[in-house]
């Protein structure tokens, strides 16, 4: 393309082109476009700038892309601006020398190219940046290239591969070169070879290249023109082509008579009113479709309106015309190769997507599990319904937020926040147990009400203290991003962290309950408090500890959930019903049961979402209906306790 050609010339002329004020003059001559650039108008200006061959052009383009070009009001010239401690500093576009510092916003107007323009600038910069010593620039160039595959850049790209020191970038360059070959290679053999390379490429970019090669259009013709690369022949009324749509295509493109709809009939009848009748039918009788049709047909016989196109007429038209989808690419060998490659990619993508959904399901299950695990202790083991459990989750999350306000380092604050959240909610849990719940152990339904009261009070308190607006709880940098297994399967680190946390709690709880003295005592107290007491166990102490433990875990879960979603006063309410169901479905009194419940609910919800991806709400509805039905048939949950522990 012109840009590249001119670049080559420019580079050749480099020593002679240096002269002061040349870039500024050039910029001034395209002033309007540069100040208010648009994706569609910026192309020619970029071409001219690149063609000028001025050595300062790449620097200017980068600055422009960065939104750091300013137009100074005083002299109406372009400057590169940097904002530092001393306000805005303007630098000369040619020399980079500081011209003026510390000026106000009004003195210089910032030029803000939009995303589309920035992309165009990026494309123009590719040629300059491909072999730049700075790896960031090279990466940027490849990103820009990947966004807009331009055949003209194939040459420079291939030329830069050998000199590329970075292995990852080199691989990426080769991949991009392959994409360019597949789409724009000179001979069919080169292209087919490149396309075959794509059959194992799962990346969205690679799939996009295949789709672009296989782009089709719909063609309506009585006779197929020569050299048409037909993808498929369509039959109106079957597959994706409805009869109405097919006929409308004939009407639009080939001037067949248009269909007459009810609204057209109505309008025609209104237009042909003749006294009190239309086509011999009295107006008062025109309140049914039959009569209207009769009147219309009468008008047709009079020749006043066009005839209706009935099913037979449509059939006749369809017999006369063929409907085809046709590849834009005219060479069948290439489209065949691409079809084969695409089929292979699709199978792999399908498999990976299934795996991806599976991971999402596990991740969702671990979130449900984490939210519910505290309940598995307080409700599952102790049988106390704690409706304020969700608010303990919220307290944990707000603890995380407060810590982050005090400790600015995200990693450190997380390390502080986790135990602190545990401590805060442990304390809250113990206080609640001592003040309220212990009076109500023999009245479980009333525990529900009292803790519900605490729940709404805590929620409102949080609102009064922290405001109603969601608060930020930011994860440390090392939890940003995602673990990429292949181009389809990936999962964010924060979700993995939640999964690990859930797993750790599962092990911890199992250990405490099964392997420690405390666990033994907890089980003893929950099964038979009097007997336990007579064996020298202090049931009061055990209840406090257990309740505190369950609440404390909720606090830690709150930090984790806050990191991945949001911190609001209502976040607990979002999880409470779900959590209770998780515990009930899994089977009360058993940590494994909670795990099973969370897995089932998470898996089921993702399954429905997969079948009906456009409506997440439906997935949730079906999940709850499923839970209701499930409990009817297994009232004790998945992992049902047997014998005396079941408490019957």
């Amino acid at each position: 393309m012109l840009r590249i050609f001119s670049l080559v010339i420019a580079l050749a002329w480099l020593p002679f082109a240096v002269s002061a004020q040349e870039l500024q003059t050039l910029l001034q001559s395209h002033r309007d476009v540069i100040i208010k650039p648009s994706r569609k108008s910026v192309g020619p200006v970029l071409d001219t700038l690149v063609a000028s061959g001025l050595p300062t052009v790449p620097g200017f383009l980068e600055a422009w892309q960065d939104k750091s070009i300013y137009l100074r009001a005083e002299d109406d010239l372009f400057y590169v601006g940097t904002t530092g401690g001393a306000g805005l500093v303007l630098l000369d576009v040619e020399t980079g020398a500081e011209v003026v510092a510390g000026i106000g916003k009004k003195d210089a107007k910032q030029i803000k190219p939009n995303g589309g323009v920035r992309r165009e600038i990026g494309s123009a910069l590719v040629a300059f940046q491909l072999s730049d010593p700075d790896i960031a620039r090279r990466t940027q160039a490849l990103d820009a290239l990947a966004r807009a595959l331009d055949p003209a850049q194939l040459g420079p790209l291939v030329a830069s591969i050998d000199g590329e020191p970075d292995a990852a970038l080199k691989a990426r360059k080769q991949k991009l070169a392959n994409y360019l070959q597949a789409r724009f290679g000179e001979t069919p053999t080169i292209r087919v070879a490149a396309i075959q390379n794509l059959s194992s490429d799962l990346s969205v970019e690679g799939r996009a290249v295949l789709s672009q090669i296989l782009e089709t259009t719909t063609l309506v013709a009585q006779e197929l023109p020569d050299g048409t690369n037909v993808a498929s022949i369509l039959t109106p009324g079957e597959g994706g082509l409805a009869r109405d749509v097919a006929y409308q295509m004939l009407v639009d493109d080939h001037d067949l008579p248009a269909r007459v709809g009810p609204a057209d009939i109505r309008r025609a009848l209104e237009a042909n009113l003749d006294g009190g009748t239309v086509g011999g039918v009295p107006v008062a009788q025109l309140d049914s479709d039959d009569m209207r049709l009769r009147a219309y047909d009468a008008l047709v016989t009079e020749g006043a309106v066009p005839a209706r196109v009935d099913a037979e007429a449509m059939d006749a038209a369809f017999a006369d015309w063929g409907f085809y989808t046709v590849y834009v690419e005219s060479d069948p060998t290439i489209t065949e190769a691409a079809e084969t490659a695409q089929a292979s990619v699709k199978t792999r993508v399908g498999l990976s997507q299934t795996a991806d959904i599976g991971m999402d399901a596990i991740s969702l299950a671990s979130i449900y599990f984490l939210a519910a695990i505290g309940l598995a202790v307080t409700f599952g083991v102790m049988g106390v319904i704690n409706m304020a459990h969700g608010e303990f989750i919220m307290m944990g999350a707000y603890t995380g937020y407060v810590v982050q306000q005090i400790v600015p380092d995200y990693t450190l604050s997380l390390i502080v926040a986790l135990p602190l959240a545990f401590a805060v909610t442990f304390g809250a849990g113990v206080a609640m147990e001592r003040l309220v719940i212990r009076w109500l152990y023999h009245r479980p339904l009333e525990t529900l009400l009292a803790t519900f009261g605490i729940s709404i009070a805590l929620q409102q308190l949080a609102k009064n203290i922290f405001g109603t607006q969601a608060r930020p709880l930011t994860s440390p940098g090392w939890l940003d991003g995602a673990w990429v297994i292949n181009d389809v399967i990936q999962i964010s680190y924060i979700r993995i962290a939640i999964f690990v946390l859930a797993l750790a709690f599962l092990c911890l709880l199992l250990f405490i309950l099964k392997r420690t003295r405390l666990g033994l005592e907890v089980r003893a107290v929950t099964q038979n408090p009097r007997m336990a007491a007579s064996m020298g166990i202090n049931p009061e102490k055990i209840k406090i500890l257990t309740f505190g433990l369950g609440s404390g875990i909720a606090g830690i879960a709150g930090v984790a959930i806050g990191l991945y979603a949001k911190v609001t006063s209502e976040m607990g309410a979002d999880y409470i019903v779900q959590s209770f169901m998780t515990v009930v479905v899994g089977g009360v009194g058993n940590v494994w049961g909670t795990l099973a419940g969370a897995t089932m609910i998470g898996g089921f919800q993702k399954g429905v979402e997969w079948l009906n991806p456009s409506n997440t709400l439906a997935a949730q509805t079906y999940m709850i209906l499923f839970i209701i039905l499930f409990i009817q048939f297994r009232p004790k949950g998945i992992v049902a306790l047997k014998g005396r522990a079941a408490g019957d």
Partner: protein
């Protein structure tokens, strides 16, 4: 009530010689109907504060018609039936002259029958789905053609988007907006298989699958863009997941219609730089009026507070109401309504807002890119776009027109040349 009105009228008539000051009974009461508790308190408390600030300013400037303005604040507590009850209370018990309030569409639909029955006056400040026109409501927020359509145009023209993901929370505003957009995109030549629509519940937090579905749309070899009508808190999880998936705004731009400065304050925006929002106002607009407004707001409500689009809508609406009442010489609803048509008031973003006979404003549309500091960088600003009550892009409503000034009808069928109804559809 009638007795009171009569009394008022006689007093007014007898004191007419004393000047316009007597045309209203003092103090003039302004109802503020915003939720101060419940889910919507997040957004609406700010608007209540805005109204109190505006009223305070107006009182310092001498009030209206020689009277001080007394705000009557009630709390409908994000409970939609309660909105109707409180509106009735404001109009009949407190006898306010005008109400500023509501945020959600459903709360507006709840209030409409009451306002129309009692001939009240409501200023509604939030962007909404259109398809409605009430004689008693002035819509100072954006209609779809003042926010959604220009944003989509920007996607099509400036970013060259060819494939669209319309993500929204499952309620009326996203549903209707997406319906309009789907039709609009198809009219612009985007095939229906290139439009992916998804609805999620309020407060949704599990976005992994949806984000990966959207990323996978790129496999068609077309540039993908996301139009987000996701509401409130759910945005936080959505943007966090987007950032985690490593999706940059250059590859997959997202334009949001419900994300403003206020919502961004719950997020670390470092990973969201370059994503877009479309509004009629951004805090970062560089005008003197805006600087003044922001200063006043920070002084009134606190230094860390931000301003947003519905606040500007109240700012324009309240000032227009003051001017209209002054022009009419009375706070009587019918007189004020007549005086409202053609009222002009400078926008905070520059240019002038005009009240149209269809009770909507003509306002410029701004598109901003999210910056690391949680503010928006305005990269596109149109000229004033007149708000359209009935969209031109859906066949049922394309034939409808709202004109309360000339036609005296909010739902006029231009095809049959009849007024479908005088009340609004709720």
């Amino acid at each position: 009530m009638t007795r009171l009105t009569k009394l008022m009228a006689t007093t007014a008539a007898s004191m007419l010689v004393a000047g316009a000051a007597a045309a209203a009974d003092c103090p003039v009461k302004v109802g503020v109907l915003h939720s101060l508790s419940g889910t919507m308190a997040i957004s609406e408390t700010t608007l209540k504060d805005t109204m109190l600030m505006l009223i305070d300013q107006q009182n310092k400037a001498g009030g209206i018609l020689g009277c001080q303005i007394e705000p009557v604040v009630v709390d409908p507590a994000s409970d939609w039936p309660l909105f109707a009850e409180k509106a009735r209370e404001l109009l009949t018990v407190h006898e306010v002259d005008v109400i500023f309030g509501n945020w959600t569409s459903v709360s507006r639909k709840s209030v409409l029958p009451v306002i129309e029955e009692l001939n009240g006056l409501l200023f509604y400040p939030v962007q909404y789905e259109g398809e409605e026109s009430s004689k008693n409501v002035f819509y100072t927020g954006a209609a779809p053609n003042q926010q959604a359509i220009p944003a989509v145009d920007y996607f099509l023209e400036e970013l060259g988007i060819e494939r669209f993901a319309l993500l929204g929370t499952d309620y009326v505003y996203p549903r209707t907006t997406n319906n309009i957009l789907e039709q609009y995109l198809q009219d612009k030549g985007i095939a229906s298989e290139d439009i992916f629509v998804n609805y999620t519940p309020f407060g949704h937090s599990d976005w992994a699958t949806i984000v990966s579905d959207v990323v996978a749309l790129g496999e068609g070899g077309k540039q993908v863009g996301v139009i987000s009508t996701i509401n409130g808190d759910a945005n936080i999880g959505f943007y966090k997941e987007l950032a985690a998936a490593g999706v940059s705004a250059d590859d997959l731009p997202v334009v949001a219609f419900s994300v403003g400065e206020e919502e961004l304050s719950g997020l670390d925006t470092a990973n969201l730089v370059g994503h877009l929002a479309a509004w009629n106002y951004f805090q970062s607009a560089e005008t003197d009026a805006n600087a003044e407004f922001i200063d006043a707001w920070k002084e009134f409500a606190g230094a860390e507070r931000v301003t947003n689009d519905p606040m500007e809508a109240h700012y324009i609406g309240f000032n227009m109401w003051v001017n209209a009442a002054t022009a009419a010489g009375s706070t009587d609803v019918d007189a004020v309504r007549t005086a409202m048509y053609g009222q002009e008031f400078p926008n905070l973003t520059g240019g002038t807002a005009v009240m149209l006979p269809n009770h909507h404003l003509a306002k410029p549309v701004l598109i901003g890119e999210i910056q690391a500091d949680g503010q928006f960088d305005i990269i596109s600003q149109t000229t004033e776009v007149p708000g359209d009550a009935w969209t031109d892009f859906l066949p049922e409503s394309a034939v409808l027109k709202s004109d309360w000034k000339e036609l005296g009808c909010g739902m006029y069928n231009t095809e049959t040349k009849t007024c479908v109804q005088l009340t609004s559809n709720y």
